[in-house]
Amino acid sequence: MTDLIGTLPGMVKSSLESEENKLPVVETRDEFDVEISGTIGKPLVQNAKMSSRNCDVFYGDKQAIFNINLDIGKNEIIAMIGPSGCGKSTYLRVLNRMNDTIPICRVTGEHTLDGEDIYAAEQDPVLLRARVGMVFQKPNPFPKSIYDNVAYGAKLHGLATNRSELDDLVEASLIKAGLFKEVKDDLLMPGTGLSGGQQQRLCIARAIAVDPEVILMDEPTSALDPIATATIEELMDELKENYTIAIVTHSMQQAARVSQRTAYFHLGKLVEVNDTNTVFTNPEHKLTENYITGRFG
């Protein structure tokens, strides 16, 4: 290539040799200002299933989440991405009051599910968690049989009155989770004996057996191999028809693959929420851009 440079016209030559021989700069809003002054993009939607207004979360004296306003639309998959410690998991746990189990954790702001205040005094967290299910990072089936794992939630809430109803419910849940074919002959085997991907699908089956409206997923595939990951992603796509899904993920490709909207969290603040297409091709905020393109220190 060097032998070519000598023969080039002046402009290109000077451009190649000059100090500015760096990657070009992209215009983003807040170009010189990385301070986060409110969420940009489209955090609010028309047909919100769940929504938060002015959400703050404190761990003791430390504030973990700052003034988040976000809607989660009906039957959409919203992905929450951001560097570690950005508060995305914490926010996810706000949505089904899992933070209640941590004594020093305090949540403020207004949070609604179908317009109902989920932090109201008369709201029962047990009922809420039945409506807003959760799937965790590490597949955590109970050390019981596959059948008992799926049936647990239903038994807990008394969703089935007799054995045959329970059988049907377990089967339906396993079918929805795409696991039934693989395990139908050993429903009484321990759930912990399944492979990682199957375990996670078992956890999903367990969650949907309670018939929730929203499913929260906290890095559901981070412990799985790519094939198992793909299976779960495919499953999410199917579940979207009946459920609203919020997923926290560290894999940007995953967020790009499965979600309709993507929310980017940074240091406890919600920086940008936009259509996934927009976020991954033309994010508005510089911080989002930096994170997505891998420019973060």
Binding site: T7, L8, M11, L16, L23, E289
Partner: protein, 241 residues
């Protein structure tokens, strides 16, 4: 005015390398076009010969850059601006390669035209069109090198000038052919050259559109200029008026 580097230095290097290669390719293509026009206007068969056989360099570079872009996509999965850069580059080099082809065509015609004096009679008109087009190509490459959207938009807006000039030249050439049918053969060749020049102008315009795509993240192809300006360059609109 720089974005922070990627955490992966190799990624940054790869992207910089790609961009530098595009600039080199652009320089090569520009000099090919320059030389082609020069050989045409000066009836320099030797130079024309050189232009027509140098096109392989451009083709080779296109293949090399294409390959590197595919590798970056496969290995680094670029997103956002990085993704737009790679996509823009892939498209820009296609246009550059076409410009190289057009320059080669002009070169081949020039070899044959060098024997006829016809060109001399059209020198002024051809020279006007070619300067316009070459300027456009130069500016487009400049806009790409500096990722200058203002310049790029200006070039897109001036695209009509080339068309107008080309139409004028066409009419003139038709008159020439009617005047003396013996000239038809050579004038036809000149027509093809003019056509090639006009194509170069179009490709330059495309390059500018990719610059805007890369910087703004908006595809402005097949959109009316006024719309583009209204949507993305409110300030520009007023200045134009």
């Amino acid at each position: 005015m720089q974005l922070g580097k990627h955490i992966s230095q190799r990624f940054t290097q790869n992207l910089e390398d790609i961009r530098n290669k595009v600039l080199v390719m652009g320089g090569l293509v520009e000099s090919q076009a320059d030389n082609a026009v020069k050989s045409l206007l000066e009836a320099n068969a030797e130079l024309a010969e050189e232009v027509s056989i140098s096109d392989y360099k451009v083709n080779k570079m296109e293949v090399a850059i294409d390959e590197q872009c595919v590798q970056v996509i496969a290995r680094n999965q670029p997103a956002a601006s990085d993704l737009r850069l790679v996509i823009a580059v892939v498209k820009v080099i296609t246009d550059l390669e076409r410009i190289g082809d057009e320059a080669e065509k002009i070169g081949r015609e020039s070899i044959k035209l060098a024997k006829y004096p016809t060109v001399n009679q059209l020198h002024a008109e051809l020279s006007h069109l070619s300067q316009l087009v070459l300027g456009m190509l130069h500016d487009a490459l400049d806009a790409f090198a500096r990722m200058d959207t203002e310049l790029a938009l200006k070039i897109v807006a001036n695209g009509d000038l080339v068309n107008k000039e080309y139409n004028n030249l066409s009419r003139l050439l038709i008159t020439h052919m009617m005047e003396d049918p013996r000239n038809i053969k050579s004038v036809l060749r000149v027509t093809w050259c003019a056509r090639s020049l006009e194509r170069i102008g179009d490709h330059s315009r495309n390059i500018c559109e990719y610059v805007v795509y890369f910087v703004k993240g908006k595809d402005i192809r097949h959109t009316s200029l006024d719309e583009v300006l209204a949507d993305h360059f409110p300030g520009e609109m007023e200045r134009k008026i």
